[in-house]
């Protein structure tokens, strides 16, 4: 009978973790955390850049910067996969393998739900899932939400704030702010997660809902519109026909409400998460944030899948006709 004794091994990873914990403790000492200042609308980094007809002034906000970063990551992934496909590689490795696995999983999901309309619905669904996933995960990048410009116009007593200049961008200074807690109100982060801006989430929700109507129109033709203006039974059986007509109008209202529920679900989850990060980061600046970041990692995945799944389900419902659904 052999008794196996596991020898205590001193790995290297724990030292790396310990090094980062000590580093964060040192940095928390040098740049003490501020009481967070929470602001709902996105902050603007620049003045008016140009004015568009009908839409209005365009100013670069920090959520647009985050969205552009996410776009760059997605385009980079697409270029990598495209290059691998063009080379004719039989097995993908690294990033391309991960993208292949994600896309394959999403396609199987779409096919099992939407059946023969999978090829029409898949691009919408996969685009939404990938975009929301990458946008949510920009929260993980160090420096997002925490490094920014100091704008004196936002606060009443700028004299109370002391700052160390980290770098210069033209005439404006990149600073780490110390001093009074009000000073946090003056910091405009360079990058703020795009999902914490209602403009992004409402825009995505409108795209999803309008695309659903187009998918429905393509699948069923003009008879799709009888879902909303149900006049089929109105003349045959006036009593029940009237009820059917009212139900159709309710369906139309429900489509509009979908925009609200889509956008507030994503916005609420990610915004609440970022506030949690601020608060935990200011209370316990060392290590505690990592646990919250892990939670946010999963919330990011779940919200992306939920947004895509709901789009998928609503689209596949739109391809099934009203009459056909009744016949079952």
């Amino acid at each position: 009978m052999s008794e196996t004794t596991t020898r205590w091994r001193w790995g290297t990873n724990r030292w790396i973790v310990l090094f980062f914990i000590i580093l964060s403790a040192i940095f928390a000492g040098i740049f003490p955390p501020l009481r967070p200042h929470v602001q709902l609308p996105a902050e603007y980094l620049t003045g008016t850049l140009f004015t568009l007809p009908f839409i209005g002034e365009f100013r670069l906000s920090n959520t647009i910067v985050a969205l552009l970063i996410a776009d760059a990551i997605l385009i980079g992934m697409a270029i990598l996969v495209g290059r691998a496909v063009r080379k004719g590689e039989q097995t993908f490795t690294g990033v391309t393998a991960a993208v292949e696995a994600i896309v394959e999983g999403l396609y199987n999901l779409t096919e099992s739900t939407a059946g023969k309309w999978a090829k029409t619905i898949f691009p919408w669904m996969a685009t939404i899932v990938l975009l929301v996933l990458v946008v949510n995960w920009t929260e993980m990048i160090p420096g997002v939400d925490s490094i920014g410009l100091f704008d004196k116009h936002h606060i009443e007593h700028p004299e109370a704030c002391t700052f160390d200049t980290l770098a210069r961008l033209g005439s404006t200074e990149v600073v780490a702010v110390g001093g009074e807690s009000e000073c946090a109100a003056g910091v405009v982060p360079f990058v703020r997660v795009a999902s914490t801006d209602l403009n992004f989430t409402i825009g995505l929700a409108i795209v999803s809902v309008v695309a659903t109507q187009f998918v429905g129109l393509r699948a069923l033709g003009p008879s799709y519109l009888t879902k909303f203006f149900n006049t089929r039974t109105l003349f045959k059986k006036p009593m029940f026909g009237a009820i059917d007509f009212l139900v159709g109008i309710l369906e139309a209202i429900l489509e509009a409400v979908k925009v609200l529920s889509f956008s507030f679900r994503l916005f609420g989850n990610i915004f609440a998460g970022s506030i949690l990060l601020f608060v935990v980061g200011s209370l316990v600046p060392v290590f505690a944030q990592s646990a919250v970041l892990l939670l946010e990692f999963f919330v990011g995945i779940i919200q992306a899948i939920v947004f895509g799944m709901l789009t998928l389900i609503f689209m596949s419902l739109a391809t099934i006709g009203h009459a056909e659904a009744e016949a079952h």
């Binding site: 709902l40 679900r265 609420g268 915004f271 609440a272 779940i302 919200q303 939920v306």
Partner: protein
């Protein structure tokens, strides 16, 4: 003096209102618990389809959670916007 009282009443109203709005989170918690209950029971009876049940459970979570997130958004709006 009067301005101070008005300001204090505003802050008081904000805080109480945000707290009351956050009570709505209760329903979401019950909903998430119920969906987990159902999923775990189903998995216990039929462990072979645990994967499918898990996916649907997470979807159910998200739906149940959505209403509580609305309550949270209202509370945050009261606190930080008005």
């Amino acid at each position: 003096m009067e301005g101070n009282i008005v300001e204090a009443a505003t802050i008081f109203g904000k805080l109480v209102g945000a707290g009351l709005a956050a009570v709505g989170v209760l329903g979401g918690g019950i909903g998430v618990g119920l969906s987990a209950l159902g999923a775990v029971q189903a998995m216990g009876r039929n462990p072979d389809v645990a994967g499918t049940i898990q996916t649907n459970m997470i979807l159910g979570f998200a739906f149940a959670e959505a209403t509580s997130i609305y309550a949270l958004v209202v509370a945050l709006l009261i606190l930080f916007v008005f």
